[in-house]
């Protein structure tokens, strides 16, 4: 097994620093999930140009698993068959652990908009749910905030990922509930729903279907 911290899917940490926009969170999807199944975060090796000097110790291009550089690669043999190869940690010896597996086709979760896929490992059929870490954190915040958000001044909904607007569900003047979908943004194959952070009326919609947006763009203002 690979060393590295894991945590329960139901209690995500709130990272202090910025989240790598490429990082994905993987959790066992309901109804496949059992109590105690951990969620993990996987991100590509940090960009060498921005890597801090101490990161260099871990190796040139190891992906990060829960923030820890991990010597793991996925070999693909066509669409379905794959093999996970976990090498011994840097500085230790021993054989690499190879595990054959089958990846099912990706489906989009009808309610969460996350990416669902069946992975079969040594006969175990594990349904996993994958989404961008940033989106997972926001979704969690929205879920926690729902019901406790109080009415205040106007709230600006800004883009947290770059992408393309594929749906606009509200127009100026509409009243919205907390958690109601206002936009769908497609980014890196994933459909990301943006939801109203609290109830109110839509003051302004800053984008239209087909617009390309960047992080920080003002999308919707709710009054």
């Amino acid at each position: 097994m690979i060393a590295g911290p894991t945590r329960d899917a139901s209690v995500p940490e709130m990272p202090d620093g910025p989240i790598d926009p490429r990082a994905v969170r993987v959790a066992v999807a309901a109804p496949s999930r059992l109590e105690g199944d951990p969620a993990i975060t996987v991100s590509p090796a940090p960009d060498p140009a921005t890597r801090l000097p101490q990161d260099g110790d871990a190796g040139p291009d190891l992906p990060l698993v829960d923030g820890v550089a991990t010597p793991v690669i996925l070999e693909r043999f066509g669409e379905v068959r794959a093999r996970l190869v976990v090498s011994p940690a840097v500085g230790s010896t021993g054989p690499a652990v190879r595990t054959n597996l089958q990846l099912g086709p990706v489906r989009i979760h009808p309610a969460h908009g996350t990416r669902l896929r069946e992975v079969v490992v040594e006969g175990w059929r594990i349904n996993v749910e994958v989404e961008f870490e940033r989106r997972a954190v926001l979704r969690e915040r929205a879920r926690r905030g729902a019901g406790t958000a109080s009415r205040g001044g106007p709230v600006e909904v800004r883009a947290i990922i770059p992408g393309r607007v594929v749906a606009v569900s509200v127009t100026a003047g509409d009243s919205v509930e907390a958690g109601q979908q206002v936009l769908v943004v497609e980014a890196m194959k994933m459909q990301n729903e943006l939801r109203a952070p609290r109830e109110g009326s839509v003051e302004r919609v800053g984008v239209a279907v087909g617009d390309t947006i960047d992080v920080g763009d003002l999308l919707v203002v709710i009054h």
Binding site: V42, A45, E75, V80, A82, V85, R115, V119, V121
Partner: protein, 531 residues
């Protein structure tokens, strides 16, 4: 050789219906299938020469309807009916109805089914034949006679605690209660009797000593109309969960030739005494002191007949058809029986079921999306499903029997391991992880841990699953990364070019070299392809 019949009807579904149709075709007979609405396009229907609809999916409205099955046979002008296992296979009333319609029942006579199907009657038959049976009572407990309670308690003390309350008409553990002390007995008798009455229409219960730890060892019997009964060898079916077998093998590991002869002789004596014909199985418990205790007789083809077929070199279903047509035991069968105490090879069957081994083997009906079965030397697959099929919730969860045959048990275990590595099933959870784990279990590998209580006592599905969750999460995460850490040679391996593998340029690292961990996985990926 002349076919035993021109046309037969198979009163079953799934893998066993297909297996019987195969035997029929190999013998030159036509096969008629029956089906419920859930099975209208099933493999056994497609394989048969004709098919007759029985009714809706519910077994009581289709495969359990004696009138409909007999009518289907008459309508399709079949001469004989093979019942398979389960459903109507051990109903004496069915065997009788088939005979009354002028058709031949491929199985023991109705009288033998009735006599041996009642466990108490079978115990009395064993007693009369001098075959040691599991200690206990031989008459139904008088549960409706409060004045007899003292006598029942005295009988229980004689049997010893812990003991089992069992249903005379029982099967699959229904009506069974475990009793550890005398004061629990009256309640257990009433509850067991009520459950048995609801399940079988017969509330008779009796007492039996709990023999534990014990192995489940059974003997395959064949008999002909002249009264000759032979034993084709024994099977060990100890790996069970709640009386449902999960792994079966032939021969039973570790028995001496003397023990085998003694066991086979007991089974033959019992079968002869009961007037057994065609095929049946006598089940025994084997305790740590080397004693065999008769348990019950199954008057039908067993799920696990395959392992005996492989070791005995015999098609048991074909033998059944010949015997049903009135032929004497074949020279081939008699020769196999003569060799049975000195088996020369080993076979193991895994029952792959639509059940979740991490959730107490709960059934997992659903659609199979991926179905890749193993092949190669010594591998036999008995199944009726393929990718795209739906496993209906109405029937048995067994979807595939993976059977291997090899020179000895060690070779058979190795063959099983590689066969499991080749097996891929997607869309539903199956018992595959359990079987893989058993092939790493020291007590199973050296056969010292074989026991009917092993799975319930030791199986930890969640621990086995936890590793798979880790691997699945890593794989799914890496597959979804915008800059996926996917190895280049593997991509090429998926689409080999003519003339061998052409390797892609290695992605250069900062210092110009390729790290060892990154290339470590390549040997296996590239070894598969020439060049």
């Amino acid at each position: 050789m002349t076919p035993p019949f021109n046309r037969i009807l198979v009163a079953n579904r799934g893998e066993i219906a297909l297996r019987i149709i195969r035997a029929a075709h190999e013998l030159g007979m036509q096969a008629v299938a029956v089906y419920s609405d859930a099975d209208a396009t099933a493999a056994h229907v497609r394989a048969a020469d004709a098919a007759v609809r029985l009714g809706p999916a519910a077994p009581a409205e289709s495969y359990l309807r004696i009138d409909a099955v007999v009518a289907a046979a008459l309508e399709s002008r079949a001469e004989a009916i093979h019942p398979g296992y389960g459903f109507l296979s051990e109903r004496a009333a069915f065997a009788r109805a088939v005979g009354d319609a002028g058709l031949i029942f491929v199985g023991p006579p109705a009288a033998a089914i009735a006599a041996l199907g009642d466990k108490l009657a079978a115990r009395r038959a064993a007693h009369a034949a001098g075959v040691p049976h599991v200690p206990g009572t031989l008459e139904p407990a008088p549960i409706d006679r409060p004045d007899q309670l003292e006598a029942v308690l005295a009988a229980a003390e004689a049997v010893g605690f812990p003991l089992l309350v069992k249903a005379a008409a029982g099967g699959g553990g229904r009506g069974m209660r475990r009793v550890v002390a005398a004061d629990e007995l009256p309640a257990a008798l009433i509850a067991g009797s009520r459950e048995a009455a609801a399940a079988f229409g017969d509330g008779s219960v009796y007492l039996e000593r709990e023999i534990m730890p014990a192995r489940h060892i059974e003997v395959q019997l064949l008999g002909d109309a002249t009264g000759q009964v032979i034993a084709l060898g024994e099977r060990d079916c100890s790996t069970q969960r709640r009386h449902q077998k999960l792994i079966e093998e032939a021969p039973a590991p570790g028995l001496t030739e003397t023990e085998r002869r003694r066991l086979h002789a007991m089974a033959v004596r019992l079968g002869s005494a009961a007037g057994l014909q065609n095929a049946a199985t006598a089940e025994f418990l084997y305790d740590r002191d080397g004693n065999f205790w008769f348990l019950e007789v199954n008057t039908r083809l067993q799920v696990e007949h395959t392992v005996t077929e492989l070791v005995a070199g015999l098609d048991i279903v074909a033998e059944q058809f010949h015997l049903a047509a009135g032929a004497p035991l074949s020279p081939r069968a008699i020769a196999a029986a003569d060799r049975a105490a000195r088996p020369m090879s080993h076979a193991i069957e895994l029952r792959i079921s639509a059940e979740d081994p991490a959730r107490v083997f709960a059934p997992t009906p659903g659609r199979i999306t991926r179905w890749v079965m193993p092949a190669g030397p010594g591998v036999r697959i008995d199944t009726a499903v393929e990718a795209g099929d739906r496993i209906p919730p109405e029937y048995d969860p067994l979807i595939c029997k993976l059977v291997v045959h090899a020179a000895d048990r060690t070779a058979a275990l190795a063959r099983l391991r590689r066969a499991l590595d080749e097996t891929e099933i997607g869309g539903i959870q199956t018992t595959l992880p359990f079987h893989r784990a058993m092939l790493a279990e020291p007590g199973f590998l050296d056969a010292t841990g074989l026991s009917t209580s092993w799975v319930d006592a030791h199986w930890d599905g969640q621990a086995s699953r936890a590793r798979a969750v880790r691997v699945a999460s890593l794989a799914a995460g890496l597959a979804e990364l915008p800059e996926a850490a996917v190895d280049e040679p593997a991509r090429i391996a998926s689409a080999p070019l003519p003339g061998g593998l052409r390797r892609a340029a290695e992605p250069a690292t900062r210092d110009g070299g390729v790290p060892a961990w990154r290339t470590a996985g390549r040997a296996l990926a590239t070894d598969r392809w020439p060049g």
